[in-house]
């Protein structure tokens, strides 16, 4: 059933690709303006070894960035739910921080942290932090008061209430945030690489584009999409594994 639902969009995609191919061949569009799907595939296949290196670099930045975003996002969410004073002090700043254009920040990060992995990781973290922090915070606030009453009546300590009620109750919200973050993260890494990098899909795109190797740019774009989708699916699988009760026979 699930797989069957994929047939329709896959069919549309395939039709569009065929149409694209035919139009490009028919109108004899130059390869450096719009390459055909087959040319994109060819560009991918020729460069596959080098692409692997770039993908590995980008995904390393993504992994470290998401890791830091999860740790800091969850900590901040827990802190502002722990103290109403912190909540009033930090929550508005969280929202304001999201209005800062990260694209404009990236060159500054290069000035401060150089051309290594650090500025890219920071950009990924900036992209991912907000959805994780805000969703987790909303999840922690949403705990049913009856559950907390029940625990208090049983003489539970606040640590028990956090571990056994508030954190599990916030899990679905956390995963919503993580799914959004996962889809942002690869784009975040590429933005970070555009400003200056030695390796990574972003710098590969820039170099290819500068050399008018448009098919290579397209192949990198497709890879970026696929990586984002894979990451999303990985988070979804993790969500199912962590919260079986949320999915079984609802």
């Amino acid at each position: 059933m699930r797989l069957a639902r994929l047939f329709l969009p896959a069919g549309v995609l395939l039709t569009l690709a065929v149409l694209w191919e035919v139009v490009v061949w028919g109108l004899e569009v130059p390869k450096w303006i719009v390459p055909s799907p087959s040319a994109i595939w060819q560009a991918f296949w020729e460069m596959r070894a080098l692409l692997g290196v770039h993908v590995a670099q980008t995904m390393l930045e993504v992994a470290v960035g998401i890791g830091i975003a999860v740790a800091s996002g969850v900590s901040v969410a827990a802190a502002i739910n722990f103290s109403p004073l912190l909540q009033r002090a930090i929550y508005p700043l969280l929202v304001i921080s999201q209005t800062v254009p990260i694209l404009a920040l990236a060159p500054l990060l290069i000035i401060w942290f150089g051309f290594g992995i650090a500025p890219k990781v920071i950009v990924v973290t900036l992209f991912c932090f907000f959805p994780i922090a805000v969703n987790t915070s909303d999840g922690l606030t949403s705990t049913e008061p009856e559950l907390i009453d029940l625990f208090r009546s049983m003489g539970a300590t606040w640590l028990q209430i956090w571990r056994k009620v508030r954190l599990p109750a916030a899990l679905p919200y956390f995963f919503s945030g993580l799914k959004i973050a996962a889809t942002y993260s690869v784009t975040g890494a590429i933005v970070g690489e555009w400003v200056g990098a030695k390796q990574g899909l972003g710098i590969y795109m820039l170099r290819s584009s500068a050399a008018f190797k448009t098919a290579q740019v397209f192949s990198a774009i497709v890879i970026t999409s696929l990586l984002s989708i894979l990451l999303f699916l990985a988070v979804f699988a993790l969500e199912r594994g962590t919260m079986p009760w949320h999915f079984d026979e609802r």
């Binding site: 009453d149 003489g155 056994k164 919260m243 009760w245 026979e249």
Partner: protein, 258 residues
Amino acid sequence: MTLLAVDSLSKTFSGGSRRGARGEVEAVVDLTFKVEEGEFLTIIGPSGCGKSTLLRLLAGLVQPDSGQVILQGQPLPNASDRQGRFGYMPQRDTLLPWRTVLENVILGVELAGGSLDTAREEARRLLPLFGLDGFESNWPSTLSGGMRQRAALLRTFLAGYDILLLDEPFGALDALTRRMLQQWLLGVRTRFSKTVLFITHDIDEALLLGDRILVFSPRPGRITADLSINLPHARNENTILEESFLALKRNVLAQLRL
């Protein structure tokens, strides 16, 4: 033997700090009663009369303005003294959705730091009696409303407290399921020597299950009647049709001024 004594308990809630909110609300006034060991006490009254507040006061979730709670001769003045002393079952179904039935029902033992293996063994032994045989590995979301309430009752029971405080445990169920659970409770309660405070807004339920009934006035809640429920026969599904039962019911209806 007197297990629990409630002495002139009063509670007024302030209307909150929001501007425009109404002022203070008197919830319960001067509640005084005693509960004997093993007694099944039902509490009835119109909605909003402070029945739930009484249980929350006892469970240590609310602090009274005046009066005291004395358990086994020992006064429990602070909320923290009362927490962990009563088996409180809130009105809304509160099974943890991320735990299986078995892991839900051993929660009380777990929080108290008791042996989980012993608790699981005891729970498995009692699951059939609570109509949950074969459901120990189910998520609560896969259970019917009646089963969820029985699981919540089993959890309250297994926590091992002497006094159970049940806040309208069958209130959210449909009429037929409610009937079935009342009969079930009548059947099992003789097997356990628990003292129970049972809130309900259903007169039949209060009289069918209780040894004694407290009638509350509309808000602010005061005790307007304290009646023993002496029925001649062992109770069953026909009890509510008997003349002695109907006489009691007329009496309670008069007390409620309905």
